[in-house]
């Protein structure tokens, strides 16, 4: 990347500065209220350590599910056209606009014990998703999936089918092309997609508390813990938020250094 050749016009610089202020001021606000002297003590209480464990498990598994399920979906969306694909693309964006609490309620209607499909899961396989860690993973994956799919799909589209066609001419099967040509060229966007979906899963709150509930050590993630702590112990809620901020910043920074630079 080269430096811009000429100064940025004020018409661009001023609104951009407002955007930066809007994003940065809450961070400043949070940090200046953080209980620095007791931070470590608050974050190492048994309750918070439980929430850290639950959050780590849920967000990592959700990000891996986004990768495993989202990559094939992104490929299909990028390589096909037509009405069905257009509908699928809207479906993928849905969790981004749906209020997460409504998303969680919708998950209950579908996969809850009395839900449309959940009733079968319960009756045939004895699987009850609500109020389990698996349920929290389902909720987090639901909200995080669009971040992975849209990131990877746009990279696939930018790249275009030229490489695929060259590989096909060289005699590679579609599967060989996908594994040996498409995947390596997508490494950066896949990493970006995983990072984004993981960060979204880590911060997920509304769908989780609605679909999976809140129980220490099982479904009470850090954001749920922060929300409940706000009722009585806002300092701990702020400490948890500072922790979430620090974790996501460091992971995103590491990824940026390793993979995301173009």
């Amino acid at each position: 990347m080269s430096a811009p050749p000429r100064p940025t016009p004020p018409a661009i610089a001023v609104p951009a500065a407002f955007a930066v202020a809007l994003l940065a001021l809450p961070v400043v606000g949070l940090l200046q209220r953080a209980p620095w002297s007791t931070l470590l003590e608050r974050l190492t209480s048994a309750e918070i350590l439980d929430a850290i464990r639950v959050s780590a498990t849920v967000s990592v598994v959700a990000a891996l599910l986004c990768l495993a399920l989202g990559l094939p979906l992104a490929w299909i969306l990028a390589r096909h056209e037509g009405r069905t694909i257009a509908v699928l693309r809207i479906l993928v964006l849905l969790p981004m606009v749906l209020p997460p609490v409504v998303g969680g309620t919708a998950l209950l209607f579908a996969l809850g014990r009395r839900g449309l499909f959940g009733e079968w899961l319960d009756r045939w396989f004895g699987i009850t998703l609500p109020f389990t860690t698996a349920g929290a993973v389902v909720a987090a994956t639901f909200v995080a999936l669009p971040f992975f799919v849209t990131t990877v799909e746009s990279a696939l589209r930018d790249e275009g089918p030229a490489l695929d066609e060259a590989a096909a001419l060289a005699g590679a099967s579609p599967w060989q092309t996908f594994v040996h040509v498409t995947l390596p060229s997508l490494r950066g966007s896949i990493a970006a997609g995983v990072a984004l979906s993981w960060a979204r899963a880590l911060g997920e709150f509304g769908a989780t508390i609605t679909f999976a509930g809140s129980l220490g050590g099982r479904t009470r993630t850090l954001p749920v813990e922060a929300f409940l702590a706000l009722e009585q112990d806002p300092e701990t809620a702020i400490a948890v938020s500072v922790l979430l901020l620090a974790i996501s910043l460091s992971v995103l920074a590491v990824l940026r250094g390793r993979w995301l630079d173009r």
Partner: protein, 234 residues
Amino acid sequence: MSRPALVPLLLFLGLAAAGCGADGSTVVMAPSSFTGLTARIDAALEDDPDWIVAGSNRLVRQLADGARADVLITADETTMAEAVAQGLVTTEPMTIATNRLVLAIAPGNPGSVTSVADLRDERLLIGLCSVEVPCGRLAAEARGRLGLQVAADTEEPNVRSLARKIAAGELDAGLIYATDAADLGLATVDDDVLRVFVTDYLAASLNGETSPVIDFLRSAQGRELLADEGFVTP
């Protein structure tokens, strides 16, 4: 963008424009368990107030953070005492109603729950309110004093979300308020040991004036309405 696709957008903007110009009516902050009551109070009052319904603690926090409201109703004394301590209220808080803890069961009683002792059954899906909110504090008090083991599967952030999950059959049973059970038509287990676990609802004015909403809730008509919703009135 195609023209039919613009229809929802225009509709949205139209509705947004219609929603502009909110009037300066009274704002009442009420606890989650008032959810089913607000429309009925609106119907009985000439100038219906705007309601902010949330967990009691959250309401007090919002006030402390600068939210504007004229009346505060809390679901227990502890939370109102906090509001008083922070200098948020301007009149002496008055008890307007009493609620009590009940063991509510899912429609059809899928878990065959017959007494509070069933709450220790690991195979059942049991819900409580989180201890941070009044209904959770009351349940914790009951658990402590009765030596009750509860194999909880979730601790919900407010009584309403807990009651809804029981009503949806996603939970087999849970400890909620009598009023929420009444409002959602939930069956309750008649277990006398729970009768002593009650919580007082207090109301106070926040703007220095006596409030018609509080006056109404203390009137004969208001008390009747509260009783109808499952509250016990003074």
